[in-house]
Symmetry: C2
Subunit: 537 residues, 2 copies
């Protein structure tokens, strides 16, 4: 009489999935720990309500670095440490206010633009609407800006949302994600982007030379939401003119009044502070060590940094809480994986995936740098993707899979395989126990914009999960209402459990996940395209 | 040989609509004036951007009273005048700010509650969450509130909008509006409401006695929208404790932090002012005189007052602009109507339809007052509807129709006939030239909540138009983003033209519009209902 285990072993050996076979019993233990003893929402709440915004190198981010490290240690993870990289200045908002004081009093909704200097106390100045997006527009306003608050965005007509703010993917939408797109390659794209990047510094120099009191941009979202994104965070790059983003409704009212006669007078006070005690930003790591002597590891990551307008809840305390909860679940289960499971919390994501890029450069693979090309700030991000060849670092082959979470707080509906067709059957199998929790889509498409990108770009099997959007894109992403309230606890717990399961499967799989061929420079530019005249300026 | 005119006359005489026959040529002239030379958006913009919020008896409302009168006069309307009624205090916000200063600094989104007193400068105090909705809840917090900012709303879990913020009615939705509902009558409803009304004053007295520094409510809408509605506007009613409405996200964060340990400290500064030079509120009127010696007239109205959070754009500068534009169109056409056409802009609508109620009482019909019953503030509104009998004023029979606009800035899709079945064919005929502009629904249902209510309640044919909702209810109604930006100019022009046409038709109709029977006290209470235990407290 054969035992049940023996029957199972034979069945698995006969299965085409045998190479990635996993212990299904672990799934039930993960769900038990993740649903009945979850700490994910406590983690998320501490990061948002208590610590608040975590702009890279700000005091909030420093507090988050220390707290997450201590949390990993308290759960018993090993090798918890931070690793620094050159970033730039810290900056934080103590308080700010903006009011129209003439022709009538209105309290405006506004936020200081990140890394712009404080106002000299409470300043009061007339506005001037001077829409500028390129250097050639400066001439039109020369001699007109002295002592003014310069409104540099062209006001638009606003927009009214005809789609629901809150949504979950339908089956049809998920199915469409599973579409292979043949690659396009534009080797000059990053140079063009870098040229645009210069513009912010040039505008600042122009405004300074003209004696502008401050400048104002219009929020790109309606509904009194503000963001305050700014990118001149490098030491020595700091703008000289204070900047403020004004809510669209308030900005457009100022613009209409200015057009009709006496310019409104705005009273502005940005009480902001720079911190230069440490210009390094830090990634946070912690491990569940594996038994495999080769040093092979799998990794999950999410960025710990945020913008300053809200509390960085869905972007991305949610992803951080899921990664940390997966760590807690696996640690509480006492798993002894074959490969090490590493948990990474990135810094500088919002300024160009800089934390994950630094990790890739140091530990995975580096790319040749163009002589003389800029390598600070956002330029580092834009300049990176089209440098060839790629050189493997010693740790290249040890990293067998990277999983990223940065699509808000929605539950996991599937995963993007980044053109990796070979991994599709494996991931379908791994999702099988979670199909009834809404997760089943394995979509071959590539996704961009977050910390798996540079891993994937050097040939690591690196994946971003597909999550329900909820109201991430519609109203929370980078805004003043990215707060804990908008999180759905059941979604966070589901995603944490699935991530834990994927990590354990990847760590224990008989063979490493299939890789794409090692990347070399493509030859797929469009030989028939004319350059865009906007790029010739 | 018969002339074309004679043929037409015979045709009309044979038609069932003959009694209400109208000159169709006027429609084309109205559309020409209303679409090619519209001033509606200029009117609307002046009321919102330039004048801004128009809380009854505030300086903004006073400016609007003068400006609208001067505008009517400049267009050549006759009998432009204002008519006062007892209201209460003026109140306006110079500026306000709210910040959490501990455990970390956050600028909060908040607004002073209307007619609450200023803070004594910039105050700083810990919060306490003390949800109270009834007098019996006070005991729980006695002795705990001294020196605190008392958060009186029970925080909720928030809500995520799964319907689009912006919408237009579908044909199906419009069709459902045409449903006759048999009347219900609850003679004690207003007494119950009045009892609840006492609560705000009792809470204030309790907070004052306990030495609370201020009180805070939670915004009823998510998304950092605030409203600031308050109702203790009568002279002698003013609250003693400053009040502030805090954005839901900010309120809930304070509540969570307070629950977890040290109460957050909030710094609050409400710089608000009372104006007591004139406690009368004023309705605004202007006429296009009719030739009929009986003094018969038709009237259109919209309320000029608003809340203080936004600029009162969709509620209700839009309706005012439509009424004023209809006046301008008809005046520019040089119409000489049979009956006088009167344009009314009401005050005190937001505090209980008080302006239109005053007009009805003085010029249309009055209701018996219960001896000793309160007759100020909101109590006047709640107390009015169930007083019997109704006594006709001398002007009762002269008012042959009242048309109201107070559903935002959306185009007119139809009209509610308020259970008046006899008028249905007439209105269908009047809409016929505008069917291709989206207006065709004649819905027999009753609608409530705005200035046609008290006309209708005394038997006047009084109607509220059906308008596309746009984002009125979802995010603009009474909020901080009720600004000019969210207005759709094409909708405003369409509604103005249709109103002009309805007014001219009603003024020139051979016979007055059919009326409902003169109202007497109904006898349709439910003899089987038990009282709600909540009403017995």
């Amino acid at each position: 009489m054969r035992t049940a285990a023996a029957i199972l072993a034979i069945a698995l050996a006969a299965s085409p999935l045998a190479a990635q076979s996993v212990d299904r019993n672990e799934v039930n233990r993960i769900l038990d720990e993740g649903f009945n003893r979850s700490e994910a929402m406590l983690t998320l709440q501490h990061l948002t309500d208590h610590i608040g915004p975590r702009l890279t190198n700000s005091p909030g981010m420093r507090a988050a670095e220390e707290w997450t490290l201590s949390k990993f240690r308290s759960w018993g993870l090993k090798n918890a440490h931070k690793e620094g990289f050159d970033f730039g200045r810290g900056w934080w908002i103590e308080r700010s206010s903006a009011r129209m004081v003439s022709p009538r009093p209105i309290t405006l909704t506004a936020i200081p633009i990140a890394w712009t200097p404080a106002t000299a106390g409470r300043i009061s100045a007339p506005v001037i609407v001077a829409p500028m997006t390129e250097e050639r527009h400066f001439e039109r306003y020369r001699g007109k800006l002295a002592g003014k608050i310069v409104m540099v965005t062209l006001p638009n007509d606003g927009s009214e949302p005809t789609d629901p703010a809150f949504k979950r993917w339908t089956g049809d939408e998920l199915a469409k994600f599973d579409t292979y797109e043949q690659p396009k390659y534009d080797p000059e794209a990053s140079d063009r982007r870098m040229k645009r990047l210069d513009y912010a510094a040039k505008l600042d120099a122009f405004l300074k030379a003209e004696g502008a009191a401050a400048y104002a941009t219009m929020s790109p979202r309606d509904g009194k939401l503000v963001h305050g994104a700014g990118y001149l965070f490098g030491a020595g790059e700091t703008q000289q003119v204070p900047g403020v983003e004004i809510a669209a409704e308030d900005y457009r009212r100022l613009a209409r009044l200015a057009k009709q006669g006496n310019a409104p007078v705005v009273e502005l006070e940005n009480v902001v502070h720079f911190v230069d005690t440490d210009t390094q930003a830090y990634n946070i790591f912690a491990d569940i060590p594996g038994s495999d002597p080769s040093g092979a590891y799998v990794m999950a990551g999410a960025h710990l940094d945020s913008w300053a307008a809200g509390d960085g809840a869905v972007d991305n305390a949610a992803g951080v809480a899921m990664v940390m909860e997966a760590a807690r679940i696996l640690q509480a289960m006492g798993v002894k994986p074959k490969r090490t499971i590493r948990f990474a919390l990135w810094a500088g994501e919002e300024q160009g995936l800089l934390g994950s890029m630094d990790y890739v450069e140091k530990h995975v693979a580096s790319r040749q740098r163009k002589p003389g090309a800029p390598n600070t700030g956002l330029a580092r991000f834009y300049g990176w993707a089209n440098r060839w060849p790629i050189a493997r670092q010693p740790g290249y082959d040890k990293l067998v899979a990277y999983f990223n979470l940065d699509n808000g707080s929605g539950k996991i509906r599937g995963i993007n395989t980044e053109n990796n067709g070979a991994v599709v059957p494996t991931f379908r199998d791994w999702f099988a126990p979670f199909n009834s929790l809404g997760a089943s889509t394995v979509a071959i498409r590539k996704s961009g914009g977050t910390d798996h990108v540079f891993f994937s770009a050097v040939g690591i099997p690196a994946f971003q999960f597909i999550q329900d959007p909820l109201d991430y894109g519609s109203r929370l992403h980078h805004t003043s209402i990215d707060t804990f309230d908008h999180i759905k606890p059941a979604d966070v717990r589901q995603a944490s459990a699935i991530l834990a399961s994927f990590l354990l499967n990847a760590a224990n799989a008989d063979k490493p996940l299939p890789r794409l061929p090692f990347p070399t420079e493509p030859n797929v530019t469009d030989p028939f395209a004319y350059p865009n005249p906007d790029d010739l300026d």
